[in-house]
Symmetry: C2
Subunit: 366 residues, 2 copies
Amino acid sequence: MPSRKSPAPRGTVTLALLAEQLGVHVSTVSRALSENPVGVSAETVTRVRQLAGEQGYRRNAAALSLRTGRTKMIGVMVPRLTDVVLATIYDGIDQTAIDAGYNTVVVNTRDRPDLQRSRLDLMLSRQVEGIIVGDSRTDSNLISELQGCGVPYVLVARRMPREISVSTDDLKGGRLAAEHLLSLGHRRIGIVAGDPHASTGAERTLGFRRAYAAAGYPPPDDYVIPSGFDVRSGREAGDHLLSLPRPPTAIFAASDFAAVGVMGAMRDRGLEAPRDVAVVGFNDLDVASELPTPLTSVHSPLFDMGALSMRVLLSLLRGRQVRSRLLQPTLYPRASTVGTSPGRTDADPPRRPEIGAKSARPAQVP
Amino acid sequence: MPSRKSPAPRGTVTLALLAEQLGVHVSTVSRALSENPVGVSAETVTRVRQLAGEQGYRRNAAALSLRTGRTKMIGVMVPRLTDVVLATIYDGIDQTAIDAGYNTVVVNTRDRPDLQRSRLDLMLSRQVEGIIVGDSRTDSNLISELQGCGVPYVLVARRMPREISVSTDDLKGGRLAAEHLLSLGHRRIGIVAGDPHASTGAERTLGFRRAYAAAGYPPPDDYVIPSGFDVRSGREAGDHLLSLPRPPTAIFAASDFAAVGVMGAMRDRGLEAPRDVAVVGFNDLDVASELPTPLTSVHSPLFDMGALSMRVLLSLLRGRQVRSRLLQPTLYPRASTVGTSPGRTDADPPRRPEIGAKSARPAQVP
DNA sequence: CTGAAAGCGCTTACAG
DNA sequence: CTGAAAGCGCTTACAG
């Protein structure tokens, strides 16, 4: 075996380069390196792979894609990855994609229609085979653009009429929160509503309001504050609600981080949860149960939601018939509403007490 | 103008297809569609672009890359995007990349050397022009693989000897936390150390220990608990520290979320910060200042760190000489150590009191 | 200003 | 089992 110059000589290692060194045709090298080498002698396969390994050969994905018309790439659109909710959903998507032999490429669109458009263009240029849409909004025409481009897609987290989606039953989640606060006797409640153009924010709020209205206590509009889903937005909305002439006795926030912001606003006014104001969050992130005042929250299965959306998309790519999925939310009552005194460790076993559906899993996509 | 069938007829719109419809050569179409059309009549440019718009033409990125040898893609490796610290750094990277005409593709490696390897391979197959490495570890040979592959790279957040990196001065950050707790009279402290194979965890811990040793109170090894950077790890390490025969009077956690976990462990034992145990976190995330008990934390400029790492990589790609950067940490004292009583809104104006450097920004890469 | 050709790196019928 | 050729969609010297 003659000693080679260096693992990666100068420039890239190509099939042609390997073929030349081995004295065989480039097509033979291609066959030997294919997943399942057929029509090549075992000996050739060994020789080729040996050299390819030594030289650090890596198949050029662009050439492969150009030739075969396939990329094995899935595009994922999210508003922002710095929101751990979306990051967790994406994690489920990515892991499921990898297990199925696909790779994902994710873009942040910051909930801005202009960025949705340009980032979608980018993904289409890169020939993604499918798209998972985590940033659909009622005030954007993203969906109609998607319809025109001929690439299969599935919505996740946020849904839209007549579109295939995988999401939490947010209407029900809002209702669970309302029923919990109603049962504790709260009549004047405030809502940190999240983004009204996202179905998550809109439906959590709607489910909550409907339940309160049905009980005879329809929340007035000025107790419903549109917001983002982050700490800062929650803080601002909380400041607003607590400054009302007759502040609410309980606040429902459409996200856990918004709820933390509400608690910050309370703290700075010398208010305590639940003594002065009860607080309910949404999503039940890890942080909720470990807060100094543990947060009552509506759990939604984020990782599973991402994973399922990917499985639905894979079915779609295989030409199967698919339908939308609604995952079940579960409310976990904690000290921010039911007022466990600090130190009573038995009163709040994390992740135990459930209200609502027995976290029934939807039937898997076949 | 004859009426067209549909915007995206069947299959993809290519240059050849446009050329045929216009009765010109494909190379003419290519020129007309190029960024800066040169050597084409203005009229042709208009005609071509008009039709391209109508037909929804999108340049095939694979073909472009194969032809030009350029991809304008930057790879980003992180342990996990569900850690908001990394997500924020990535956000800085991505925005800076876009502004410079590049796109990023990010991979999660979960701090597993095997995944580092396979995901790196993937990126190299996709012909990334540079890589930003957020997951370097002392127990992985990722760096030596990177050295052999001929693609420029820059480390971010975690650093390694003799490698170009952009990170926070974690040694100093640890020292700031130690000086703060020393000044409050704490002598027996516990450390939730983070991952010892990541320079962030190792150096924050080392800086802290050195300062305590220098003051005459070297922390014993069994008060230093290796951990992850998440809530759960912090919770477990906190449980451990608080169960010691002589529990610490203060705990330094290498991340804010780990600190929240520590506070959860305290709460379940009926302990309060800072009355029973003082707590210091690291990174100063948004959530830190809004917690029911606001968390004293060492701020590090995460978004800027990501952005700067991208600028350094861009310099490297332009063949310039670059050097490592160390960003300055700043300690923000809050109620978890200095015991502001709830309701005193003037005692903790978020983001105001500083200890340490005046957040001096490093000189920008030219 | 426009056309014709070559070629990026790869896979895949088609011969032999 | 191996070779030779075609072609994926694009850009870019090279002619005219």
